[in-house]
Symmetry: C2
Subunit: 308 residues, 2 copies
């Protein structure tokens, strides 16, 4: 039988997972946690799958703008659409939050929730990562897939708690991670129930309802679950408060931070602006959170072997 964490190298990170799971699942043990309270939360981008050079959802936005462009001839000259259509991502990014919000609104709002789900599912079925040239569902980290499965095999309920759009993520989380839609918490748009031609629909409105990042994450966990997790996994300071909340519980807990250190097998952006991982490392050191160094701790990064 293959070890359930076969893609993890032997070392402190793997051992911390094994020790933690053994401790909380040993009946009559000091740290035993009943299955109903075995809640594990995972950030998505950069923790469960690739986020470099941009979030997967950003590539969806750009592809969708290109797809809608024939219906919007004015986009050829109107920013930020013109730069997207030219493929000039630096120019898009230079437009800052306002530009990004405009792009999100035209690609994510106006349609019903059913229509949006179909658009995203269709995209996932054909889109490929611009530099890795693989469908996005293949860009999940194999060690994290094994970790999700290992925790579930030990009675854990696994949740995604991520800054990505909740309905965007739900289009693939069950297929990729085995996490059903009702266990995905993300950022969300305002929506409105209405009767459209006599048929009940839920329409996506062009307004942010909730941004699931930083201090919003523990608040959302409490809001959605009403329970404090005992294990949390992230990779940036956007996950800091989620890890603080998880580890401040009364019993044993596990907190892990993934560091992107492997330019050969994945991407190395650990010390760049992209990662935004500073305070997390300071607290990891102080609190004994586990740092997962991809180069050092993962035997294999993807299910396929990347050739470069």
């Amino acid at each position: 039988m293959t070890h359930p964490l076969a893609s993890w190298k032997d070392g402190a990170a793997k051992q911390a997972i094994l020790d933690f799971v053994a401790a909380v699942t040993t009946p009559n043990g000091l740290s035993f946690v009943p299955p109903s309270d075995r809640i594990a939360v995972f950030n998505n981008d950069g923790t469960l799958w690739v986020e470099y050079p941009l979030y997967v959802q950003a590539f969806f936005v750009f592809d969708r703008v290109k797809q809608l462009a024939p219906q919007h001839p004015e986009w050829q000259t109107q920013e930020p659409f013109a730069s997207v259509l030219k493929g000039d991502l630096n120019a898009v990014m230079a437009g800052g939050e306002t530009a990004l919000l405009q792009l999100v609104v035209v690609t994510h709002a106006g349609m019903t929730t059913d229509e949006f789900a179909e658009i995203v599912q269709d995209w996932f079925a054909t889109a490929r990562h611009p530099t890795l040239h693989r469908p996005y569902p293949e860009l999940a980290y194999q060690p994290m897939l094994e970790l999700l499965a290992y925790l579930r095999a030990n009675g854990f309920k696994t949740f995604i708690v991520s800054g990505g759009g909740v309905e965007f993520m739900r289009a693939c989380t069950e297929q990729v991670y085995g996490v059903p839609p009702e266990q995905v918490i993300g950022s969300s748009a305002k929506t409105q129930f209405e009767l459209y031609d006599g048929k009940p629909v839920i329409r996506r409105l062009p307004e942010l309802y909730f941004f699931n990042d930083k201090a919003g994450k523990p608040a959302a966990i409490q809001h959605y679950l009403g329970k404090r997790p005992i294990a949390a996994f992230g990779n940036s300071d956007g996950d800091l408060q989620m890890l603080q909340w998880t580890t401040a519980g009364p019993g044993r807990s596990l907190a892990m931070i993934v560091r992107h250190t492997d330019g050969k097998r994945e991407f190395c952006y650990d010390q760049t602006g992209m990662s935004s991982l500073k305070q997390g490392l300071v607290e990891a050191d102080q609190q004994g959170w586990i740092v997962v160094d991809i180069q050092r701790d993962w035997q294999r990064v993807f299910a396929f072997e990347l050739e470069r």
Copy 2:
């Protein structure tokens, strides 16, 4: 063996439940639904337990005001607190929404989520219904408890989707209904994650975040679950849109409305202002939704026998 719906009288309502469950669970049947999509949603007050003469949560508010009164001598003369302390509920109600909101704020906000959970749990452990003289957890409807268990035994995941405060309901839903906190959707206050004396807490703020009623219910279901239910149970027009959304799905579905017609064994307020059930009955008639008449359809209302 006792029949799983032993407290339901034979009749159209019971038969509709049996037929529906048989249809969606028969492998290779035309209406088969895989277990992951067997989602059933229940309103709480008036559907799963007593809501008369006031919502259970209202009694919590009044008791809590009395408990806090010694720290607020000004309440003796200040409305709406003075009327609560005198037990003059009509005067409280005359203050309308503003008065109720004031009462909710002082009893539901300011403390951390952990502190609030403890306050509510303590209250449930000792409080009794003012006219039935029973602890509230005993005031769940026995036929609905059997229905919840029957659906779960047939692979359904059962959710509460109610206008009550989500953290208030969570203090008892697992014990009373077997529904864990993460399967409870309700109205909610804004909250804020903060470090308090260096310790992470989530604080309840004096502001409504989401009111889970009417058109808000299907929007919340989509927001939290990302899946359309196939069964929905309510008792007022506050549940109308939830039933519309549930029954507008592509496959077979079940929608039921409980009518409070039994003044002897429970309360009869079917044709009064309290019930607010008008459009629901019209659509039930048009759409073939099942009306559950307590007097006609329930063999027993509570686990105990009420003596009056």
